[in-house]
Amino acid sequence: MYSSGQKAKITPPTVIAILALVLYMLVSGQVLAASIVGLIIGILGGIVFHMPLLILWIAVPTLVVVAVFHGVLAAIDTTIRVLTVSLTASGLISMLGLYNLRLFLEGLGVPPKASILPVLIARQADIFSMIVRESLDSLRGRGIKGVRLLFRLPIPVLVNAFESSAVLAEAILAKVPERRMSTLFWRPTGWDVLIFSLTLLSLYLL
């Protein structure tokens, strides 16, 4: 039986199906339909309103880099595609819940020590943004400003990331149990039906 400590809005089969459909839309040229689905899922998953900076962080560098090498139109097209995939994936994971994602991966046969990784990576996002802010403040407190600050910033952040990875690896080895906690069985929810219908509607109408 699929058990969960965190209420999931949708079930894993819906996550996989919607992701596959959105990728299919993008590959087959239905970019508008895919981006609408991505936006709706991003809003329903709370990504659009709670993480606007994350969206900018993904969109702006993509737009700039592709515009330099391939022109503005290609840059807009690529940015929309990248944003669609990231909004869809993060919105779906947000609605599924990290704990349920872990159970799902374990149900698929992924060992517990590996299935906990996506959960840890997502949790690390908060810590990572705190580390970036603290590093910025520390460097500014040493009189390093402007472009020099941006060039120097990655060094303490990366060193800290390597050190944290080592600590996390030790903690995972020591703390995560070998026993799997899940089997593959899900009962569809109302949200599954709603999101699936929306995606199919976009696929056929747009």
């Binding site: 403040d137 520390s138 040493r142 060193v159």
Partner: protein, 234 residues
Amino acid sequence: MFRWVFRNVSLVGRIRDVNLTISSRVTAVLGPNGSGKTTLLKLAAGLLKPSSGEVLRPESVGASLQNPYLGFSSHTVIEDLTLSAGSRDEALRILREAGLEHLAGRSPFTLSMGEARIISVLAAISWNPEGLVIDEPTSGLDQRYRRWLARLIDSLRIPVLIAGHDIDFAASVAQEAIIMKRGTVLLHSNVDKILSSEVLDRVGLEPGPIMKKALKLGLSPSRVARCVFLGSEG
């Protein structure tokens, strides 16, 4: 003359309605975890902007924050100090004066916490700022380095704000202290008054054994602390 002025300063979720005029050369900000000490220091250094109110501060303020390793960005200590000091010669002079030239070729990321803290403070003053803030100055420092840092702070000619829980260290270098709790200032007075006030107990802070003894004997705690850390009564 004032060094820092906080007028009705609030930062949502962190500190509220802080009114302070800091005029002593070294001031200690004391309080339990989560009381807003770091936020106050970052506001004083211009690293944070208040959501309301106004902070008047020196033009340039150096900062040594809680995690010293996050301010390092070169492969050797000397290269790292050169970034702030402006030239390699100046960086070497600072290390020599501090008696730490043996660390020059080491990677800053392999330093012990105490050494990293000291290098972080040296980096924060190496660009000649007009003020200095040090968060948790004695965290990770052994007694030798605590004394060393107390002497360094005592020798500076710029206003300094320190924050932490080490009351004995604060008493040795600071003339005034501020007690914070839950984002507000409970008390701002000279160090001796603060150490003998019951507010310390109310916020869960406790002086070390030497300070307790000094208070029991009716001695000035700050003078005793200066004797212990600086070898002088000031």
